[in-house]
Symmetry: C2
Subunit: 341 residues, 2 copies
């Protein structure tokens, strides 16, 4: 969902960013729900009924590590978990997936591994693998690599749409535990790994015996397992922490006039993130926008309900921490240890 | 939509093909309409209402030629026309597009050109550009190239679904004129161009003055402009002629027990196809499965209505020819000049 903040990712100039956004908006018919910073696109269907939500993403460079470790199937599954979380944060449940698998020369075993992973995750999240394309393009792809992208479709009831509109001053910011990098920060992690002298099989520095490979390739956590809790009325907004980190994603659900104040010491930073930041000499400010730092999803919760929500998640095996709160301000994420602007 | 005939494209063995199909089918919930050979996937929505159709495809190697000619915007638009035709042949109208644009290093001007082309075509076909992803992957893509894929969503009324089920013996096969290669056969065409000694600016051999580049890069025709005619009850099935040619795509809408008999001389073969087949020394049998040969869409029409359908299309500026008929047989496409099997 880069178009909404295309300036960060792709546009060398504000003029190009504006041009891209203008082009996109020129296509929006009356059914489209404008979601500034949305994690998915949402549109009404003619004749009423549920709203349709859709998101398209790629697995990214996690694929390279996964192939090296013989775990392509798991990385493909991550695409589905990632997309399902992007739907979940708007209140949508998965309906169908369409996938794109591309190589310089198609290797049937690679395609089968990818489809196995996608299908397994589709069964888990309740999405039908409805179609897709395998492309063989020797003049486009480097030899031996594979790219995997996919479009996940979902549905939600009109009244269930989460779009940040219910966020109010005083809301608690609850950080939900992730499993690792999920699917972001792998370019950085691979650079650190390459210069660290460690192998995928090496024990993770500071860890409890798990290998670097296992830590790096942990599956992207799918938070839809906790949809019962996360769908309650006390949840005012959800943000999926992907590229941009907590800082870059939490801001996407903040209405004008509100800011988030976060305490960076409110949760234990997992060894994987301490190792990447340390071995890569990543400044703390950069780590906060490049990595999720152990928080895969952020919930903005009515303050009186935080304990109950955290308790219910805990009983389902998911740890969470109150990492900050919402206050009047200028639509930004502030960290308590940063100097005031 | 390669999974349905994955053996042709990707599977070195029937075992892998079967494995892939089994994985895919394992995800299908009760709403999914199994469409053997479908050009798009179709599913019911919970609670009724219209059916949802979805297709995902890439522009393919036409992108390379288009970039060389400075016409990336047009090639991006072709992705939408291609997808809209894949929906049309099932009776669906476009609703939304999600796109994937990937490069080794993102070039904002390239992304803008792609988005401009997509947005223009989206406005034309009535699809909202609802989301997408731009990926920068230097370890995956060759320097300087771009890949563009997209997922097009559409809707159709339950009773309007075209799935081949209405095809009967005696139906006429009507071939609708294309504009050129559309988006298939470009690997072959580029090989022929590279060995022909011709440049993109050279006049097309046998043509009426147009350049090779203009002929090769003609936009993919969108047949949804003629949806009024093509949606009439006399139209029993539609096939979009993409990879696999008339042979490989017409067979996708044939029910068991029926075959198509086609006359290869029933329409004028455009100079572009004569040049590619001649300069590339492509055997006629291969040309018929690699290229559309000037027919971009095939309609199976109640015989008494063929003249009327062709006449109405003609008045809208679209030429068509009666190129064959449907008869009892073994779910195959037979050409009249081929020896009997």
């Amino acid at each position: 969902m880069r178009y909404r903040d295309a300036g960060v990712d792709i546009a060398r100039s504000d003029a190009i960013k504006d041009d891209i956004l203008r082009e996109i908006r020129s296509t929006w018919h009356a059914g489209v729900r404008p979601l500034p910073g949305g994690f998915a696109g949402v549109t009404r269907l003619p004749g009423g009924g549920p709203l349709l939500a859709a998101t398209l993403d790629g697995v990214g460079t996690k694929l390279h590590l996964a192939r090296a470790a013989g775990r392509l199937e798991d990385a493909a599954a991550d695409l589905v978990y990632h997309g399902a979380n992007d739907l979940l944060v708007h209140g949508a449940r998965p309906l169908a997936l369409l996938d794109y698998v591309a190589q310089a020369r198609l290797d049937p075993d690679v395609v089968l591994a990818v489809v196995r992973g996608l299908a397994r995750a589709c069964r888990e999240v309740g999405a039908a693998l409805l179609g897709g394309e395998t492309a063989e393009m020797p003049d486009t792809y480097l030899p031996g690599v594979v790219d995997v992208a996919g479009c996940l479709l979902g549905l939600l009831e009109e009244g269930a749409l989460l779009d940040g509109g219910r966020v109010t001053a005083g809301d608690a910011v609850l950080g939900l535990e992730g499993t690792g990098l999920h699917t972001n920060g792998y370019s950085l992690a691979r650079r650190v790994l390459a210069t660290s002298g460690l192998a995928l099989a090496s024990p993770l520095p500071g860890g409890s015996g798990e290998s670097v490979g296992d830590a790096l390739l942990a599956p992207h956590r799918w938070y839809g397992r906790h949809a019962n809790v996360l769908g309650s009325a006390a949840i005012h907004a959800l943000a999926h922490v992907t590229g941009g980190g907590i800082t870059g994603n939490l801001v996407r659900v903040l209405p004008a006039g509100l800011q988030a104040r976060l305490n960076p010491d409110a949760w234990p930073r997992p060894p994987l993130f301490r190792w990447i930041a340390g071995a890569g000499a990543v400044p703390e400010a950069d780590a906060r926008t490049a990595l999720n730092l152990g928080i895969g999803l952020v919930a903005l919760v009515a303050p009186e309900a935080v304990s109950d929500v955290a308790g219910r998640l805990g009983r389902e095996g998911l740890r969470s921490w109150r990492i900050g709160s919402i206050e009047p301000g200028s639509r930004a994420v502030r960290w308590e240890d940063e100097p005031p602007i």
